[in-house]
């Protein structure tokens, strides 16, 4: 045998991804914006911006503010609506060999179902990520995502409406996120993704006014990573379906941390703004780690976290 090429592929239900790196919703446009800097087929997957049935304008600017090791955003789910997405974006994503996850939003349970039905009839959708966790708009699904019954009901309804893999995206703004992962699993979800952003705010002390127009927004970036890792681990211990982890990933080591905590795949969001060329760097970093640790398959790392306390004095 020659030099072993590490196997980076992972399985999310019936879906096999060539590697565990997925571009997070809201951080990658519709994918095509990044066509000029990254080969979209190299990514494990691309999650679209959140889509409702109809177009949405979103919140007035300013929509983001930088905070220590992170940023707060309240974009307000500006989007082109599912019909224009299917017509204008999906064919181009298919052409480029992208595995397209569509982030589905709804103001009502019926809207989630209707958007999913549209996507089920379209060609080139790999999976549905159910957005029940956007903290920034009043009727953006958070009413489902913050209630165990609401989570169960919306996942059940969508489950009946499509054969595509259904992946609810969970909010961290609850007391026990794992119970929401369990509700999603019980309702027939194929996987869960977490975390969405942490509800946050920032004040301009000179003017005493909010730093973003919506006052409240969602905190993302490295600042939230340790909390997200903890939540992924909690969910991994409670559910059998795959967990897709995200929150402040900046490099291969961060990806490995999420996978060891139980993530089958990960999403990269905010760091993509900092470094749009991150994808090949992280893939190289994963391969390097696997070669160094003599690992054949990246899947072997999922949940391989050893909770034995570290020795005192170890750096």
């Amino acid at each position: 045998m020659g030099v072993m090429t590490p196997d980076l592929s992972v399985a999310i239900g019936s879906l096999t991804l060539p590697n565990p790196l997925i571009a997070a919703s809201g951080c990658f446009g519709y994918g095509l914006e990044y066509d000029q800097v990254v080969d979209l087929s190299l990514l494990g997957g691309v999650v679209s911006k959140g889509l409702f049935m109809k177009e949405r304008q979103g919140h007035p600017p300013p929509r983001i503010v930088e905070t220590p090791a992170g940023m707060i955003n309240a974009i307000g789910l500006q989007g082109i609506g599912v019909h224009r997405f299917v017509k204008e974006k999906l064919p181009l994503l298919r052409e480029r060999g992208a595995r397209t996850f569509v982030n589905v939003c709804g103001t009502t349970l019926d809207e989630y179902v209707e958007v999913c039905k549209v996507l089920s009839q379209a060609e080139g959708v790999a999976a549905i990520e159910l957005n029940i966790s956007c903290p920034n708009i009043k009727e953006g699904g958070i009413q489902f995502g913050c209630s165990l019954h609401g989570t169960f009901d919306v996942v059940s309804a969508v489950r009946k409406a499509t054969t595509l893999p259904v992946i609810p995206k969970l909010t961290p703004n609850v007391t026990d996120v794992a119970s929401f992962a369990k509700a999603a699993e019980d309702a027939g979800a194929d996987a869960v993704s977490l975390v969405n952003t942490f509800l946050a705010m920032a004040i301009d002390v000179e003017t005493r006014r909010p730093r973003i127009s919506n006052v409240l927004g969602g905190l993302s970036g490295p600042a939230i990573r340790p909390i997200a890792v903890r939540m992924v681990w909690e969910c991994y211990q409670l559910v059998k379906i795959p967990v897709i982890g995200m929150g402040g990933i900046t490099d291969a080591r961060d990806v490995l941390e999420f996978m060891l905590a139980g993530a089958t795949a990960v999403q990269i969001g905010t760091q993509n703004f900092v470094d749009p060329f991150i994808w090949t760097k992280v893939l190289d970093g994963l391969s390097e780690y696997m070669t160094r640790h003599r690992l054949a398959s990246v899947s072997d790392l999922i949940g391989a976290f050893d909770p034995t306390p570290p020795k005192a004095g170890h750096a």
Partner: protein, 271 residues
């Protein structure tokens, strides 16, 4: 050409005042691709604080004494934590520089005149534009407003290109006292029938609004470069939107990073 990302070494960081500096970066690949009005996203390399890059118009395209492009410079004004970090950088420090990005200015040629209207740090995109206009032999005037006479920079640079200068300062120390829009309006009034001036503007938003409205009032076209809080520069985050006219009543929020930063002044909806 697609943008590229370079870890660019700081060649010089010339402090023009206690607030302004010109940061010169060894980024020839960015320089050769840049058109006037385009921008770069920069941050000190290898640090997570600040986390996000900040957008800057390319100020100068730097050349060696044989004329070969060796990099770009940006005009930096200390305003927040990120710009303070950039102001403090020393020669040899490294900056992540992604670009060039965005839609450039469209140059005009004779018989049209080019009027560049700059407010403060809004001078930034006009050095490269003036060079391009000089190549086109376009009759070019820079209307340049600042708070004080000491904050009127690079006047020699523009004069050497044959650009006429019309200056304004808030304290009246140099040029007209008050806003630069006053001498602009006087010049618009003085235009003969059939004369055409393309009005380019970059500066604070109230100035952009005033310039676009003045140009429209005197039936002259305008191109304005807007500045919005920007996350990525590539169209990914939807932070930097501006309202653009769409039909009679509606405005669309479009991303200034990819549809701009340069817009037709008549196309924008001003608040």
């Amino acid at each position: 050409m697609p943008p590229i990302d370079i870890d660019a070494t700081v060649i010089a960081n010339a402090r023009l005042s206690s607030e302004y500096s010109v940061l010169s970066l060894a980024a020839p690949e960015v320089g050769v691709r840049t058109q006037p009005g385009q921008f770069v996203m920069v941050k000190p390399a290898g640090v997570s604080d600040p986390l996000l890059r900040r957008p800057f118009s390319v100020f100068e395209i730097l050349r060696d004494n044989k004329g070969a492009v060796i990099g770009v410079s940006i005009l930096n004004k200390r305003a927040g934590r990120s710009t303070r970090r950039l102001y403090d950088l020393a020669v040899g420090d490294v900056v992540s520089c992604l670009g060039p990005l965005g839609q450039p200015f469209k140059p005009v040629a004779s018989p049209a005149k080019a009027w560049l209207v700059a407010g403060g740090v809004g001078l930034a995109p006009f050095a490269t534009l003036a060079e391009t206009l000089a190549l086109h032999k376009t009759d070019t005037t820079l209307f340049y407003g600042a708070r004080t006479g000491e904050e009127l920079f690079y006047l020699d640079f523009f004069e050497a290109l044959g650009v006429s200068l019309v200056l304004a300062t808030e304290n009246g120390a140099r040029g007209t006292k008050g806003r630069v829009t006053a001498p602009l309006e006087a010049s618009l009034q003085a235009l003969g029938a059939g004369d055409r001036a393309m009005v380019y503007a970059c500066g604070p938003e109230p100035m952009l609004k005033a310039v676009a409205e003045l140009a429209a009032r005197y039936q002259q076209p305008s191109q304005v470069s807007v500045e919005r809080v920007m996350g990525c520069g590539l169209g990914g985050c939807y932070s930097c939107v501006v309202p653009v006219k769409h039909g009679d009543e509606h405005a669309n929020l479009v991303r200034s990073c990819i549809s701009g930063p340069v817009f037709d002044g008549a196309e924008l909806v001003w608040e």
